[in-house]
Symmetry: C2
Subunit: 408 residues, 2 copies
């Protein structure tokens, strides 16, 4: 079960002026589930996107990048689950374009004004006719307060929908931010198997939105891992409808930092929610690596810990078998690491220093912390000033079960 | 259960002239199991070693390297299971030295003539007194035909002992090679959580033995992975007693290649045995990446596939969810990879080309191959002449169970 994820209520998700969301059940892979989502944006909106770095990137990712680069005003997004339209070659590109064409026709737009997204099984042809046949339904039931339905419509192996809202005041006007994400397995830095959508009515320049999305992704979706697999389809989109009525926020505005940080907070919550709902997760771990020479080496150590199946299974078992963490630090790839200098903490408890067990450490302390649902692992390298944080979950029987059964 | 590992009989393991092996039950972690091994070597033997590259390398690894570098004639090895003597700081080094001192006293050697090895739980003090107290037993029952007992004495989470023998003829004399290995989890390139010992009566120069061990390790133990964790204690030792009666083999001898290849064959069989007995393994996979620009990029792709929990669970489930393999190829880190150029084969079946599903591919073909216990995954990058092979196993419920329960 997801780790400390509150049950979402529709009313907790605030509508964004200028954004409507509609869905359909197209039976793409399984019957009786929402699997098509259409997001419509008011005229004058700004849209920015960040995508997977996987070389085998999916057809919709290629089309999204092309449409964003065309500088057409993006006015609609179409998302399907059940099929990733990845590893589908030329015909996959045609299918992604066909779904954009069809939605553009229905909404009286150009195809370049539509962004397509797919998530699900790789290497199977997209049943694009089913998607197209259900677009009218998703247009018909479009509403501004449909965020919970929308968050449900993008789920695959997710157990719970993931979405959140924030408000802040800019120039005397209330600005609202609402976002949602999906993803549960194949989750790794440089984006996860995840789709993330964050919308705001803030008035913000295109340039400032681009700056914010890169800042926010580095602090959020690029800091999570479930299984170390980077997906073919990862996409994170920020949409600003520019309808809140305050003066435009640019990168040099006084309010830029406040808006950036509020949007980043939403992104962090959405990213952490993916880990909390990680496939089979029973624990949420924060891996914090401090006092490194640079951020890159801190991330190396954090990811070595976060990716280790041995460590993840020990957390699942609540077994303070902490030597496995030392081993991961040792193979993280810092060639000149002096292990006698570093300290390892579990929560507030000093576990290891001087290359060995801390004199003050008692296994009962470690055992108590390992039983908790949220655990902080802190590594102090004592060789510099930089730090990095990664969030991950444990590795349980259910991870194997979910991934052994996913397609059947 | 181990994948296609034959039950070992004591008689299949050939004694090596000049090598005796003795064991004891010292109750280091668990009662009633062999957990101390002493190997004695005849005067005039040559010994070479390769060790973990983990920065947190264990105390016995540090001591082994020092003793080998001292150019003392190595005459004895002492191995314990149940405790890795890793992450144990200064006192760990003292303990490793104490066990060498004790064995040296009993055998009338200098401490530098003894190599120590430990495997088991990290971050707990080594109960060195128990080891020392049981050395006389392990000396008393030493015999040349004790290889099966020895292979059992070095097991931790291994289900079966792993050992093998080969013979070849050099200069009209029969030369015998016998080796054994242990390891099952925390198995990764640059050595596994593994101990490997290979002995031969061949007459071979120290320089030639050094050349052979590096060649053999690169073709064997550095090509396997179970879970991507590189251990603190990995050690592989080659011992040549020089008693076979033929002229000394040097790197320029006519027989060098034959001897090198025979010893490498033994190393490969021992390395593959570790994967076949990988924690929870039900399948043995060979990942072969061909036609790359260089060996390094081929290894990157092979390891991305071999480390992916999503792929490993799909193999466990016999589910030809092969898009996961394309995803792994895509995130393996080849920045200029053109995915439309590569081909993916499962066994002899072409699965993917031109960035999509091969026109000839039928899922029933993939499903049939996925049911087999030994599976070949072949990736043809079509961008060069180099290749690399990695062996791995699947990821099952039992992997989680074994590692969640390991200490308890």
């Amino acid at each position: 079960m997801p780790v400390n994820l509150p049950t979402l209520s529709a009313s907790s998700l605030l509508p964004i002026n200028g954004v409507t969301l509609g869905f359909a059940e197209a039976h793409i892979r399984k019957p009786n589930r929402k699997d098509v989502l259409v997001i419509q944006l008011a005229e004058g909106s700004h849209v920015a996107g960040v995508f997977t770095q996987n070389r085998f990137c999916a057809a919709p990712v290629i089309v999204c990048k092309k449409h964003l680069a065309s500088n057409s005003e993006i006015r609609a997004l179409v998302v399907n689950t059940g099929n990733a339209n990845a590893g589908t070659g030329e015909s996959g590109l045609q299918h992604a374009n066909q779904s954009c064409d069809a939605l553009a026709r229905l909404l009286n737009l150009k195809s370049e004004q539509v962004l397509p997204f797919s998530t699900g099984v790789i290497l199977e042809p997209l049943p694009v006719d089913k998607i197209i046949a259900h677009l009218p339904t998703a247009i018909k039931n479009a509403q501004a307060d449909n965020w919970l339905n929308a968050a449900q419509a993008i789920m695959t192996t997710d157990i719970v929908p993931k979405a959140t809202s924030r408000q802040l005041s800019i120039g005397g006007k209330t600005v609202t931010i609402t976002g949602m994400s999906k993803g549960s397995g194949m989750i790794h830095p440089n984006m996860a198997t995840m789709l993330g959508y964050l919308a705001t009515d803030a008035v913000i320049s295109k340039q400032a939105l681009d700056a914010i999305i890169h800042y926010a992704v580095n602090k959020s979706f690029n800091c999570i891992t479930v299984d170390g697999d980077t997906s073919t389809n990862d996409s994170f989109i920020m949409m600003a409808t520019n309808l809140a009525g305050h003066a435009e926020v640019t990168t040099s505005s006084e309010d830029f930092i406040a808006l950036r940080d509020a949007m980043t907070d939403v992104a962090i919550e959405l990213a952490q929610a993916i880990v909390r709902d990680g496939e089979g997760a029973t624990k949420f771990m924060t891996i914090q690596v401090e006092a490194g020479k640079n951020e890159a080496e801190c991330r190396k150590v954090a990811y070595a810990i976060a990716h280790s199946p041995l460590i993840k299974t020990a957390f699942f078992a609540s077994d303070p078998n902490l030597g496995r963490i030392l081993a991961a630090i040792g193979y993280a790839g810092i060639d000149d690491l002096d292990v006698s200098k570093l300290s390892l903490y579990l929560g507030d408890v000093l576990v290891s220093e001087n290359g060995g067990i801390a004199a003050s450490y008692k296994e009962a302390q470690g055992a108590a912390i390992m039983k908790e649902a949220e655990i902080l692992v802190r590594v102090v390298l004592n060789r510099g000033e930089e730090a990095a944080t990664v969030w991950t979950c444990d590795f349980s029987y259910d991870y194997v079960k979910i991934n052994a059964d996913y397609r059947s």
